[in-house]
């Protein structure tokens, strides 16, 4: 609860800085504020409390995931210092919107009432629509914003309809009441329909396969920093929310629902990876790779009661490597109108450190040992086999192998091709964020139990 209040206060403070003309100080102060909020969240780690008639329930699940979101936001705000240097007059708006987006994200994992869930998802989505269209003179960004807006509000409509049917069946918005009622009496048929509609809406936000068609276009068109935010923070938030929603509301998901999850998970992995193979634009490639990672994360829904830790671990591994990769993309594609692989030619010679970081990030996403991505997949596959879904794990392993193909396409382009032009100096902040993100990723890989035990 305090986390949420502190974040919103920080967002308002960002807007006030604009009035007092403190734009230069805004990024450092925001980062310090977010570090303070992170400390606050960690300090109330073990408490389980509910506030405002169960509107917000702080639990271990919510505080660990909130901490992850705050860390990701710190990285994204820090990158903003360099990315928005040509838009200094609007920097407080950009930063404030990101902070409000974080508030929505925290509300989404700590809801105890469907009203809070809906408000959280809307605060997050509306902030993202603005960020996607924030480069307003650029037609591509406009188009991405419009497409994301249409798809997002369509999905919100479906989620709202689902909530309405759940309310109709149960007569309450409180998730604990709903879960008690769902185990006892004969349920009206509206309840499962409502759950399915809410799930569909969230699968839109996660970009899992039948609902992924918006992702590549929106990722390509949005400003690069917004793409980084969507592919790391927004995806992880939506996935954590879907997990929390299903685990809180109906502890034993029916077999037919699990079958659907298995099929969606397989389809996401396969379609995502195969489409990624033929992309030349790096942002599009990472969009499809994000679709396949969504498929992997959906596997956690098959063993709801035990897999919270592995979802957290997978989400951290994926999003940290995503942040590191996007740092390099931001550096390489600054002042260029596209993000084709050609731009990365010879990066290994002109800037060996950043090339090494991008390589490490991609290897982590592909699931090569030492990096956290490997152990995340290992734990996840182990759990899924124990839950009895061997076929799904086989498909997942095959997909991990396919994914190496397109990750190595980029790595080879960096090390074997000749550089096509000289690059000027790199801002320190990009180095700092990239190095910290990748070091955190490797540290997670070396000590997986640190994260896995948090939610065991």
């Amino acid at each position: 609860m305090n986390t949420l209040i502190a974040i919103i206060g920080l967002g308002v403070l960002c807007l006030l800085f604009e009035i007092f003309n403190l734009r230069k100080a805004i990024v450092p102060i925001t980062i310090l504020g977010l570090l303070g909020v992170l400390g606050l969240t960690i300090s109330e780690f073990n408490s389980t409390e509910s506030y405002y008639n169960n509107m917000i329930v702080v639990s271990k699940f919510s505080s660990t995931f909130s901490s992850l979101f705050i860390v990701l936001t710190i990285f994204l705000v820090a990158l903003g210092h360099n990315f928005y240097e040509n838009h200094q007059s609007k920097i407080s708006d950009y930063i404030a919107i990101k902070i409000f987006l974080l508030a929505g994200a925290v509300a989404m994992v700590s809801f105890g009432n469907l009203a809070m869930f809906f408000l959280g998802i809307e605060v997050l989505s509306i902030a993202l629509y603005i960020l996607a269209a924030s480069d307003r003179m650029n037609l591509k960004s406009n188009e991405a914003g419009m497409k994301y807006f249409l798809m997002g509000s369509f999905a919100s409509g479906i989620i709202l309809f689902g909530i309405c049917l759940i309310y109709g069946a149960m007569g309450s918005f409180d998730v604990t009441e709903i879960s008690e009622l769902s185990q006892s009496a004969e349920l009206p048929v509206w309840f499962p329909i409502g759950i399915v509609l809410v799930t569909i809406g969230l699968l839109f936000k996660v970009a899992a396969v039948p609902f992924h068609f918006w992702a590549p276009d929106v990722y390509e068109g949005s400003p690069a920093l917004t793409t980084a935010l969507m592919s790391t923070l927004a995806k992880v938030v939506a996935m954590a929310t879907l997990y929390k929603l299903l685990s809180v509301m109906n502890a034993d998901v029916s077999e037919s629902f699990k079958m659907v999850v298995v099929i969606i998970s397989m389809a996401s992995m396969t379609v995502g990876n195969i489409m990624a193979l033929r992309q030349t634009n790096v942002k599009r490639m990472l969009a499809f790779s994000g679709v396949s990672h969504a498929g992997f994360m959906l596997m956690t829904l098959l063993s709801l009661s035990t897999s919270a830790g592995s979802l957290l671990y997978y989400a951290s591994a994926y999003s940290l490597s995503g942040i590191a990769a996007f740092c390099v993309i931001l550096y390489v594609c600054k002042n260029r109108d596209n993000e084709d692989v050609v731009n990365f030619h010879g990066l290994g010679k002109t800037n060996p450190l950043l090339a090494a970081i991008l390589t490490a990030a991609l290897l982590s996403m592909a699931g090569i040992p030492i990096f956290a991505g490997f152990f995340a997949k290992l734990v996840l596959f182990n759990q899924t086999i124990q839950a009895g879904y061997l076929a799904l794990v086989i498909v997942a392993v095959v997909n991990s192998i396919i994914s190496v193909g397109y990750y190595f396409k980029l790595i080879l382009a960096m090390y074997t091709k000749e550089p096509n032009e000289e690059r000027k100096g790199t801002p320190v902040i990009i180095y700092a964020v990239a190095v910290i993100a990748i070091v955190l990723n490797i540290a997670l890989g070396l000590y997986p139990s640190f994260v896995l035990d948090l939610l065991a």
């Binding site: 809906f118 408000l119 629509y129 249409l150 309405c164 918005f173 509206w190």
Partner: protein, 106 residues
């Protein structure tokens, strides 16, 4: 109020909102004018609001009606952002037909 609901039956309210919701969905899928698409999204959200109020009366519980206020406020904020994006598209492109938005492909 409860009497009317007994006469009409909650099912009919559900059918009405499902029909309205589907009109909205088809509007989003088939119309090409961005303003009409926005209106269709509003129809979807308002169909749900109608159902919330009907359920609220059915359960004799005020929560559903309060939720409608939330969803109306959210829908207003959402459409404000959507219109802002539309204005910037109109400035760059001079039209609001969403068929013109196909630069992103691959």
């Amino acid at each position: 109020m409860n009497n009317i609901l007994n006469h009409i039956g909650i099912e009919n309210y559900i059918f009405l909102s499902v029909i309205l919701f589907c009109i909205g969905v088809f509007g989003v899928l088939y119309r090409r004018n961005a303003i009409i698409v926005f209106m269709s999204i509003e129809i979807m959200l308002n169909a749900v609001n109608l159902l919330f109020v009907a359920f609220s009366t059915y359960h004799q519980d005020a929560q559903g009606q309060v939720f409608v206020f939330f969803s109306m406020a959210v829908a207003a904020a959402e459409v404000a952002v959507g219109l802002a994006i539309l204005v910037s598209i109109f400035r760059n492109l001079g039209s609001i037909t969403i068929d013109n938005l196909k630069n992103l492909k691959g």
